[in-house]
Symmetry: C2
Subunit: 107 residues, 2 copies
Amino acid sequence: MTGQRSPADLEAEILAALSHPNRIRILEYLRKDVRCNCELAPALDLEQSNLSRHLKILVQAGILVSWKEGLRVNFRVTDERVFKLVDLALAVAKHGIEERAGVLEQA
Amino acid sequence: MTGQRSPADLEAEILAALSHPNRIRILEYLRKDVRCNCELAPALDLEQSNLSRHLKILVQAGILVSWKEGLRVNFRVTDERVFKLVDLALAVAKHGIEERAGVLEQA
DNA sequence: ACACTCTATGAGTATACGCTCATACACTCA
DNA sequence: TGAGTGTATGAGCGTATACTCATAGAGTGT
């Protein structure tokens, strides 16, 4: 069932998990520190249940791991390379904007 | 309208455009060469209209550029870094699989 | 046991996405 | 001009996603 996924499928799963602004903002918040759900909600101005579902998506994709500490649930990035990935996405996005703005448009 | 997008929004747009297996397969096919729509369809076994829409998404995201050459439309990647991005996604995916498989689970 | 706090989830809704069929559009060549 | 080829798009369908409200679950302290 889960073992017959092609590289394209695996890549798409990771990228889909990252393809929402709020989930990227969550990652940004986790760039330096381990964080618990409770401090993410106010910082990102997200409904608690909404945040919980976004976090679940990131955990299920293997991008985050979570562990309980009393009432709280803490989160940590499993692979620092996701930050490089997100940074590359921004670079590619900016490149595309510049191209469309005509910076490189001399035929 | 389009100028008020945060970095997270920009990143999410690129990642969303890449978050489908068929679009990743399209990119893989473009990794070395410029390709036209007509040869992508049979190679990837996609319905023509379906492929056309996937290509449109990639173009609108600024990941591909297209130009006409007679009847055909050719496509080229605008920024080679998307390949690094996709490669990173695979690395992160495999890392997550290994972690879940218990390779790194000694507490 | 109880109240209290933090997190997860069921239910419902609105919107977005992916796909297909049919058809319109663009271009070439006779 | 008309036939032929390659691409784009409208319409329709089924599914997936994002969000919210309400509530259940899990852990703490009294």
